[in-house]
């Protein structure tokens, strides 16, 4: 494919393979995307047109403000009455911005989205599309539907949570082209468009993965199992360069990125990380007692960290691999202390869902920190199996026994060896 003309020209679609065109838009001035992403090189919104012998399919659209670019490019290679199928691999507004207008201009076109995209579509279209024109990309038996374009066929690969519930990839069978949506994409704007022509975008590719895909690592691994066997000739993502030179290298890079950053040294043992901050040593003694208790349970590896120094990044990596997390904080003016919140507000990049969580701490007046931390842990979708331990000022010997028991019981939960119990709802507080 190296002989194809390269470089985006205003008002013109760009051929990325015979009969397949890029219809996207360049946004070189973008410096911050979705609030959380820095975009030093801007971004592109990639949409594609696939021409078959019996019809045309459009795959994805662009952010609404760039609709004119999209429609002008589309009109340079196809007329609206030729469009039989519109596929949205992902419905976030940067891909669905021109969808309502496209469906209006091509009234015969049918829309294909993943089953999980239906609730999002309602928000995007606000009822503005005949339901008869909307189809899911899985049939009633759970098999991929096939869009027949005559001499070409589109199949669908369900890749949920990369990075929304609705995300899917579209596979152009005869040509080995994968329209991958946000997967293998990045925010990098370069009008030369192809990966073998643009500037060095490796940083953007990895950065995009770390910020967008990493929280869904388990889903990335499942998706890679589906994508790796494909005879890929080109990957056409929804942002950034089109990957025509060695596309499989980018799939391999995803596999590397999705592999745990830190090798698990605990083997089959369950890992418990205890983080604490202590003003006068009381919460620290509670943390130590909790560790002693947890370590009495075989098969649990405990680590203790005083995070008063405020480091966050290294602990995020540790937390991603851990099974259980405990946070100890004194209560200052009715709240947990800032280093604890800094860490607990930095976990959106990793998946902590269903890990076990616990809170404890010493207090002088009222001890709200423990409940607030527990609420945050539940908000992050951790399981909090035990009510936290809160002690007034310095722990007595008996109170330290309570902390040790707390650590032991938490470790039993980690190992799945907690005692079966029958409770009345009134005991739950």
């Amino acid at each position: 494919m190296g002989s194809l003309r390269t470089g985006v020209v205003e008002g013109q679609a760009l051929s990325i393979a015979p009969g397949v065109h890029w219809l996207g838009a360049l946004d070189p001035g973008m410096r911050q995307f979705d609030i959380i992403l820095k975009t030093a090189n801007g971004t592109t919104y990639n949409a594609y047109c696939v021409r078959g012998s019996s019809g045309v399919a459009i795959i994805d659209t662009v952010k609404e403000g760039f609709s004119q670019d999209f429609f002008t490019r589309l009109e340079s290679v196809a007329s609206y009455d030729e469009i039989c199928a519109v596929v949205l691999n992902h419905l976030e507004p940067d891909h669905s911005g021109a969808l309502p207008e496209l469906m209006r201009r091509a009234p015969q076109a049918q829309l294909y989205i993943s089953p999980k995209a239906m609730p999002t579509l309602r928000g995007v279209l606000k009822g503005g599309l005949d339901p008869e024109r909307i189809h899911t990309t899985l049939d009633e038996e759970g098999e991929s539907r096939i869009i027949d374009l005559g001499d070409r066929h589109l199949h669908f690969i369900q890749t949920p949570y990369l990075h929304w519930p609705d995300t899917q990839c579209t596979w152009l069978v005869e040509d080995g082209l994968l329209f991958s949506g946000d997967v293998f994409g990045c925010h990098f704007c370069d009008e030369r468009l192809f990966n073998d022509k643009v500037g060095d975008f490796r940083f953007s590719f990895d950065y995009y993965y770390q910020h967008i895909m990493r929280p869904f690592r388990e889903y990335v691994l499942k998706a890679l199992d589906l994508i790796e066997p494909l005879p890929l000739r080109l990957i056409a993502p929804a942002h950034g360069p089109v990957l025509r030179e060695s596309p499989a290298d980018y799939v391999r890079r995803y596999r590397q990125l999705a592999t745990p950053l830190l090798h698990r040294e605990a083997g089959d043992e369950k890992t418990l990380l205890i983080f604490y901050v202590s003003a006068y040593g009381a919460t620290e003694r509670m943390a130590q007692a909790m560790r002693e208790g947890a370590e009495t349970i075989e098969g649990v590896r405990v680590s203790l960290f005083d995070i008063a120094g405020g480091e966050v990044a290294p602990f995020v990596d540790l937390i991603e691999e851990a099974d259980g997390l405990a946070f100890g904080s004194p209560t200052l003016n009715g709240d947990a202390v800032k280093p604890i919140w800094d860490l607990l507000s930095s976990l959106t990049l990793v998946n902590v869902k269903n890990k076990l969580g616990a809170a404890f701490g010493s207090f002088g007046w009222s001890g709200e920190a423990i409940g607030l931390i527990e609420d945050r842990l539940r908000g992050l979708k951790l399981r909090v199996p035990l009510k936290g331990v809160r002690l007034k000022l310095l722990p007595t010997a008996d109170e330290l026994v309570v902390c040790r028991d707390f650590g032991r019981d938490f470790a039993l939960h980690l190992c799945g060896r907690a005692e079966r119990r029958v409770l009345d709802i009134s005991e739950l507080g």
Binding site: P115, K116, G142, R378, R383, L386, R421, D424, I425, L428
Partner: protein
């Protein structure tokens, strides 16, 4: 008031609750592994598998039914934020 016994199989805890209780009111408090998102029956995050006693839950509403279908949920799956216990014994676990 009639009571029901809800067992969260993943953590081995049974809770006695009054009839009319929604699963969401109990599962987080006991640390069960059912995960919540919107808590309003829309996002489908809190799907749970009914191991036994499904007949002891109120039938799904039209809204719950729609969300379950959109998530391609199996017949024994319910949303914990919506499912209300009527009585008897119910055993659930995360879907």
């Amino acid at each position: 008031m009639p009571k029901a016994n809800v067992t969260f199989e993943d953590i081995g805890i049974t809770v006695t609750v009054p009839a009319g209780t929604r699963l969401i009111e109990v599962s987080e408090k006991v640390g069960a592994g059912i995960i919540y998102g919107c808590r309003e029956g829309e996002c489908g995050s809190c799907q749970m598998r009914i191991v036994s006693g499904g007949e002891n839950l109120a039938s799904p509403s039209v809204l719950e039914d729609k969300v379950l279908k959109e998530n391609m949920a199996g017949r024994a799956t319910r949303l914990a934020c919506q499912a209300q216990v009527l009585g008897g014994d119910i055993v659930v676990r995360p879907a």
